[in-house]
């Protein structure tokens, strides 16, 4: 099985390197094909590992080599394939394979086609390290690796110029890339601190050693570690207040959004919480905070999605919102449910994004859903895919999202956190509304674009075919919930609804369903037949607030970015140049000036010299006389 581990891990790496070889040459289709094949290989290896773990219940643990060893610290490159990681591996490789194939079509006309595959595969490699590592440091490699790859991919179209925030809320791909990287880095610091706490208290960064040592640690240490790690998770998973980068990241090519900003990278935070569940389960306060923050973000993001006009941003906000759900579940202790929702969400969200990519492709990169409409006819396949994905997202029964989301909401009830439950329910309604608002505005009604110049057409066939596994999974994944629970709870703590909740589960489900369907109906009423703009509503404060993302990006710019730049400028010009350097030069100048002053003593006039001599002599004599009196 070890070989499969390495194949799963290094096939994407090989793919990346292979594509990189052609990174500077013009588009070569075979690069994409080979990359996709290698990814598929990785998927196959992951799947067989999954099968192996599933059937035998054994876990595979390999150590490749030492990485860092200094002092008592020893970090190997070790890889662990257990129930959790194998789930992630399978999901990641599956979605990425689809995205790779999709990209062959989508990036067809891009001159940096080869480079794109190199980045994309590198990303998958990082993600695989992240999920497979058997220690926190290895996780951190992947953690940073995905950060860099996302930087590369968001900034893929680096040559675009900066725009003002009014014209483009994300300013430019390169700006968005930097924002993403830096936001992530802020969180990474927290993560690092978490690592340090764990190391100095347990003497290792290996999961098994760390977790085994947890019971001996004091509450404050555990809390500190949990908080620090969660800060790390907040960055990757774009939790409030580090969320702004995720929507700006939509500047990247759409396959990137599908892969990174929906299915994989952003779930890393959730993965971390799940992975470190032994830690989080002994820190109930932190866990509750996670749940509360998750719930808040779920609602918060959904609210912004309600009014957004940008196709990709709506989906990004929904991602954010769903990540909130996952954190809510994980925070409430239902780790396996969180993981299940993570997997299910990966499928339908990737599908949604890829569908959005098709739309963009057809609309020549137009993203404003107010300028779309009526695409149903031209793009039937995409319409079906996106409809299915939206249904799954909205949590309509028997689609994947229904099972997982319902379970989360049920958990919230079960834990007695009624407020969280209520918010999650309302959010479910909002989710349904904005998903279908977007579907209706895009596909239904009349065309709002200039039909004389734009002739929307469907994506390549092979792309649609490639998307089909995702569509299939978006529909059926939910049915695997039971067996998944059985499989995963060998590792993760099982979570059982209490007797009481169990009794009213159908009622809870019904409430959610009603709210969700209500959302869809509302969306249909409003947008089913095309766009009806409501000036009054659009001018209302709430609408503007939501449309401007609660003015948070502006706030960050005003409170952090600009003052930082200003402070830096002052530090340089006023402190460094005017104080520090001037002091140094001042000392030199002082010496030089005193030399100039002293020079006046040397008048060249002998008489003065004689005076000096006499002064010196008399002074010495006087000093002698005075000191003689004190002897």
């Amino acid at each position: 099985m070890e070989n499969f581990v390495y194949i799963a891990l290094f096939a994407p790496f090989a793919s990346s390197m292979f594509a990189a070889l052609f990174g500077m040459s013009p588009r070569q289709t075979f690069v994409g094909v080979i990359a996709s094949l290698l990814l598929f290989t990785s998927f196959l290896a992951s799947a067989s590992l999954a099968f192996y773990v599933w059937t035998t219940g054994n876990i595979v643990h390999v150590t490749m080599m030492d990485w860092i060893s200094a002092g008592d610290l020893s970090i190997p490159f070790g890889f662990l394939v257990d129930q959790v990681s194998v789930t992630m591996m399978t999901v990641v490789t599956l979605v990425s394979t689809v995205v790779h194939i999709y990209s062959i079509g989508y990036m067809d006309h891009d001159k940096s086609f080869n480079r794109f595959f190199s980045y994309l595969s590198a990303f998958v490699f990082s993600m695989m390290i992240l999920v497979m590592s058997d220690n926190f440091a290895g996780l951190f490699i992947g953690w940073e690796g995905v950060g860099v790859c996302s930087w590369l991919l968001i900034g893929f179209w680096y040559h675009k110029a900066d725009q003002s925030r009014e014209d483009n809320p994300s300013i430019s791909p390169s700006w968005a890339a930097n924002e993403a990287f830096i936001m992530n880095r802020i969180a990474d610091l927290g993560m690092l601190v978490g690592l340090f706490i764990l190391y100095w208290n347990t003497g290792s960064l290996q999961y098994d050693v760390v977790f085994a040592a947890l019971p001996d640690l004091s509450g404050s240490v555990l809390n500190a570690a949990a908080i620090a790690l969660f800060i790390g998770a907040m960055g990757k998973s774009a939790q409030f207040p580090l969320h702004t980068w995720l929507t700006d990241a939509m500047e990247g090519p759409t396959p990137v959004s599908a892969l990174i900003h929906a299915a994989t990278m952003v779930t890393a935070g959730v993965f971390l919480v799940i992975r470190a569940n032994p830690l989080f389960s002994v820190t109930p306060e932190v866990s509750f905070f996670i749940a509360a923050l998750g719930t808040f973000v779920a609602f918060f993001a959904a609210s912004m999605a309600l009014v957004n006009r940008d196709l990709k941003r709506i989906i990004a906000f929904s991602t954010l919102s769903q990540l909130g759900y996952m954190f809510a579940a994980a925070g409430l202790g239902a780790y396996w449910i969180a993981l299940f929702h993570l997997a299910a969400h990966a499928f339908f969200k990737a599908l949604l994004f890829l569908g959005a990519g098709n739309v963009m492709h057809a609309m020549h990169d137009e993203l404003d859903i107010f300028k779309m409409g009526g695409l149903k006819k031209a793009m039937r396949g995409t319409y079906i895919y996106m409809g299915l994905a939206s249904l799954a997202l909205a949590g309509i029964p028997f689609f994947a999202g229904f099972f997982s989301k319902d379970a989360i909401i049920e958990t919230a009830w079960n834990e007695g956190t009624i407020v969280l439950w209520a918010i999650l329910v309302i959010t479910a309604g909002m989710t349904a509304f904005y998903s279908f608002r977007q579907v209706f505005l895009t596909f239904h009604g009349k065309a709002r674009y200039d039909e004389s110049t734009l002739h929307p057409h469907e994506m390549y066939k092979f792309v649609l075919v490639a998307m089909s596994p995702l569509a299939l999974l978006a529909v059926v994944a939910g049915f695997g919930m039971g067996s998944f629970e059985h499989f995963i709870t060998k590792l993760l703590p099982a979570y059982h609804m209490s007797e009481h909740t169990h009794h009213i589960a159908w009622l809870l489900g019904l409430i959610v369903l009603v709210v969700a369907v209500g959302g869809i109906v509302l969306a249909y009423k409003k947008y089913g037949n095309g766009l009806k703009r409501d000036e009054k509503c659009e001018n209302s404060f709430i609408y503007k607030l939501l449309a401007n993302q609660y003015y948070i990006p502006q706030l960050y710019e005003e409170v952090i970015t600009k003052p930082y730049a200003m402070l830096s400028e002052h530090m340089w010009k006023d402190v460094d140049m005017k104080i520090v350097d001037t002091t140094v030069d001042g000392i030199a100048k002082f010496l030089y000036k005193s030399g100039d002053g002293a020079r006046k003593m040397q008048t060249g006039n002998l008489s003065n010299y004689l005076n000096w001599m006499a002064v010196g002599a008399v002074l010495l004599l006087v000093v002698a006389a005075i000191s003689a009196m004190f002897v």
Binding site: G604, S607, N611
Partner: protein
Amino acid sequence: MIGLSHYLIVSAIIFSIGLVGVLRRRNLLMLFFATEVMLNAVNIAFAAISHYYNDLTGQMFAFFIIAIAASEVAVGLGLLIVLYKKYGSLDLDDLASMKG
């Protein structure tokens, strides 16, 4: 009675007079006079000490001081002459081409 201190004090006063001369004279020749005054002051001291200690060393010293004074005058006058040829003046204030 006149003691050693009396002579020494006279010597000190004359020495100081010489010093004042050195300080205030701007004419080189006059300045040399002042240095002679100082050396003579020292001679008085030596002779007096020699007398009161009944020791000849002081007289020796005074004797050599006279010799030194004579040599200095020779060299000094030689210098004065070349200087005067060059500058046409013995004023110290004219003698300040090097400074700083």
